[in-house]
């Protein structure tokens, strides 16, 4: 399955909507896109994981790397995810305490502004 990476803007935030499976094979493309956005000066990013069917530890590593990169620019990275299977990998690895995870892009934008 192809990895979809769609970028849009919402109230001063850049929204990266991810679709498909994020794993050891596709994660490098996800990492590259995230680094590109930061390089373009997009320092407030919401990653929408609602279209993600699968997420492994390599994908989690991309998100942690993105968060570190953005915080070093005084930026922020917020996540949108309501799928229990995807949330489970965040819970097992303790990353629910590291990331701010919202039910929708609107909720994320609202909480941040």
């Amino acid at each position: 399955m192809d990895l979809g990476l769609d970028v849009s803007e919402r109230n001063g935030y850049t929204v990266l909507a991810v679709r498909g499976e994020v794993d050891v094979y596709t994660a490098p493309r996800f990492r590259e896109r995230l680094i590109e956005l930061v390089s373009e000066g997009k320092h407030r990013i919401i990653i929408d994981l609602e279209g993600v069917d699968f997420l492994d530890s390599t994908g989690l590593g991309v998100l942690v790397g993105g968060l570190k990169r953005l915080r070093s620019h005084d930026g922020d990275l917020l996540l949108v995810c309501t799928q229990s299977r995807i949330l489970k990998v965040f819970e097992i690895t303790g990353l629910t305490k590291v990331f701010s995870i919202y039910d929708s892009v609107d909720d994320a934008v609202g909480a941040a502004s």
Partner: protein, 144 residues
């Protein structure tokens, strides 16, 4: 009558083979009526085991995956044919800022037993066992 579905894959140590193997295992479990949440746990564990092999790959090595699905459990065996690696190096990290090192924690949490056997001569074997739960779509030949 007892049934067992056994799949054996021998693949190049390339990241593109990981979703391929995962999809084959998923399809077999779906056909056997395993619940979606249980299938997902096996998919993540299998992916992590394969990813460990890919990260330690020599350029032209192969690796082997055996998936054995019985009436109540699934066994996964992932074997590389390389030089093996230090199993201790895979120990879980708890640092939230680390970008790697969560694969073993995921495997431990998602399956019932996990064993590593690493040998510089024969490579590394990861052995995972997961008890399966079945939904209503269980095929009739499996019985009630």
């Amino acid at each position: 009558m007892a049934i067992e579905v056994m799949l054996a894959l021998c693949l190049p140590q390339d990241a593109s083979t990981v979703p391929f193997a995962r999809h084959i295992a998923r399809y077999a479990m779906e056909e056997l009526g395993v619940t979606p949440d249980c299938i997902y746990d096996v998919e993540v564990a299998l992916t992590e085991a394969c990813a460990n092999v890919i990260r330690h790959a020599e350029s032209d090595d192969e690796y082997e995956i055996q998936v054995s699905i019985g009436e109540d459990q699934c066994e996964l065996r992932v074997k590389d044919t390389g030089r093996g690696f230090d199993v201790e190096s895979l120990s879980e990290r708890t640092d939230g800022s680390a970008e790697r090192g969560r694969g073993v924690a995921l495997m431990r949490a998602l399956v019932d037993t996990i064993n590593f056997d690493s040998d510089p001569e024969s490579g590394t074997v990861v052995h995972l066992v997961k008890r399966l739960s079945f939904g209503r779509s269980r095929p009739s030949f499996l019985g009630e």
